[in-house]
Assembly symmetry: C2
Homo-oligomer: 342 residues x 2
């Protein structure tokens, strides 16, 4: 067969990137802008990637189809949006009671994560590069506080994907609503609760005014990773130097995005508390029930989905080792600092 | 005056990088190799940086002088080695009871950290780029376990720099020893204790055989950041695309290095425990005394060192905010996972 066309080092390349996120989510959406800017700078302006917000070129959840078909060369998305295609997508982003942000980077960059996820993504003509993390998300906004497992039964909650499946086992009635419709649904009582991201993003949508009980932790998103998804053929057509720029600019965007969330969440949290938000820890029986339901679903998938089974086997072993290690010096250092008078 | 010479986009550039680390510290030393490799790949081999281990071109602690004088274009080092020049160096790396790894990245990439440290480094003709983090280090190896604050009095411990000053307030007699001499000193009882890094690095030096009590947390290094130090004139002489490559390759090495430590420490920890290492949490009264001594020293420096005062004011406010936020969803998620049967 014919060898793919090789774009030479100093060739002009123009790509389009479809983001799954609106510009208003500036921390997440911004990762694509950081990525494109750095690629442009490093290539002396010759490799240009135009960044398009959700809906501009295709619907937010259409980006995997778009990259697979080559409609766009690349996308920036949260892989767990695509669990309807295959649950394995979620492992490359976040599953309930999964890896935290640092552990996820460790699995990707130094464990087998990137290798295994890339093998899986070949089915979609996609090669992925880690493109940010939000850190552990909050557990959502509730009109009434959750004080027991019984409070979860019948709860109409805006929560999607994998977490929704687990919530169902707890008696929750998961609701699927776009971000822009959550506030009104909470205000009217059409839904009882909603999860979004964390203080910085949540504050902008004003949920604290209508559902002031802000629970933690968001056990279904302990460290969700965003990804740059690139059409494999488009990537292959790049020269070696442009390929390296893509990889390295993605890493830069990756570290930048987590830094933005970490730097911006504290102020938002303080403002939310000043505006009468009630911070409430999720009761342990709720976490325990969710943990058990999650493990049941994961084991069930091991029997049903060979792709899941292969990736999850590695992921879950890595997760056990990470938590074994982190409980010693990381956790005791953090705990001391969090209790200290600073 | 004359404008500096501008190296054009596709010019051949050759730099030398002096590392403060031996090749045997492959995670830390390796960050320089990752950095140089990515710059080479992105420039199509035209921008070559040769990496030199500690001692090859200059002594490990001579690298600031070397970069300042332009003997080498750049170095990779732990800035706190240079507290003897100015204590402010330590804030850009680690001070006792400081920021953890993620918080340090947040301060650098999104807070005022990079701006403030760069302003300080102009005194040394240096511009810095974050170049890795070890994560929270362990609290060292002890021939006898520390069970009370009284056990610290008269303890001869291999610990240097800022931590040594704090230890002195606890009655410790700090010792300065190169890595290669620690084992024998511990074996003979010339010293009672020694700190190094964490399981992966410590295992190789065999301390567990002669001082089996492995304490945590390493309160003086909760998230030490390594830096690439670049001679400002050398950096200014680069074209805009090469400058961007340096910045972005450094970020890639930054995320890679933390991932390596996180991925490799768990196995080393398990092997150490299997070889009869005793994991011991440092008693709270020791931490409390060290915390108080640290705050006293920091406040004293506020009165003595204007450069320290300026940077520390921003750092300490950021630290308070970070720990306010991290105690909620991050800490409760991590604690649940660390206690879970995985």
């Amino acid at each position: 067969g014919a060898a793919p066309a090789i774009v030479h080092a100093q060739a002009n390349v123009r790509w389009r990137l479809a983001s799954s996120f609106p510009k208003s989510l500036d921390t997440i959406y911004g990762a694509s802008e950081v990525f494109a800017k750095k690629v442009s700078e490093m290539s002396g302006g010759k490799f240009q990637i135009s960044v398009h917000a959700a809906g501009e070129l295709m619907p937010p959840f259409g980006v995997v189809d778009g990259v697979q078909a080559g409609t766009v060369e690349m996308a920036h998305t949260a892989p767990y949006y695509f669990v309807g295609k295959d649950e394995t997508f979620a492992i490359g982003c976040a599953i309930p009671f999964g890896l935290n942000s640092r552990q996820m980077s460790a699995w990707m960059f130094e464990g087998n994560g990137l290798t295994l996820m890339r093998e899986f993504y070949t089915r979609y003509n996609i090669i992925n590069f880690p493109g940010g993390n939000t850190g552990a998300q909050m557990g959502g906004w509730y009109r009434k506080p959750i004080t027991s497992l019984a409070d979860m039964k019948g709860l109409k909650m805006r929560v999607a994907g994998f977490a929704g499946r687990v919530m169902e086992q707890l008696g929750v009635v998961p609701q699927n609503l776009p971000g822009g419709e959550i506030y009104q649904a909470l205000e009217k009582g059409t839904i009882d609760a909603a999860e979004w991201v964390g203080p910085y993003d949540d504050q902008k949508l004003g949920f604290y005014k209508v559902a002031p009980h802000y629970h933690f932790p968001g056990w279904w998103e302990g460290g969700p990773q965003l990804d740059f998804f690139i059409n494999q053929k488009a990537f292959n057509s790049l020269s070696a130097d442009y390929k390296a720029m893509v990889e390295v600019a993605a890493s830069h965007a990756h570290v930048e995005m987590q830094a933005r969330y970490d730097a911006r969440n504290p102020l938002a949290l303080k403002q939310l508390v000043a505006a009468k938000t009630k911070l409430v820890q999720m009761p342990k029986p709720v976490l325990d029930a969710a943990f058990k339901a999650t493990m049941d679903i994961c084991n069930d998938l091991n029997n049903k989905n060979p792709a899941w089974k292969k990736v999850y086997a590695d992921y879950s072993k890595f997760r056990a080792d990470q938590n074994l290690w982190f409980r010693f010096t990381e956790a005791t250092f953090d705990r001391y600092m969090q209790a200290a008078k600073l």
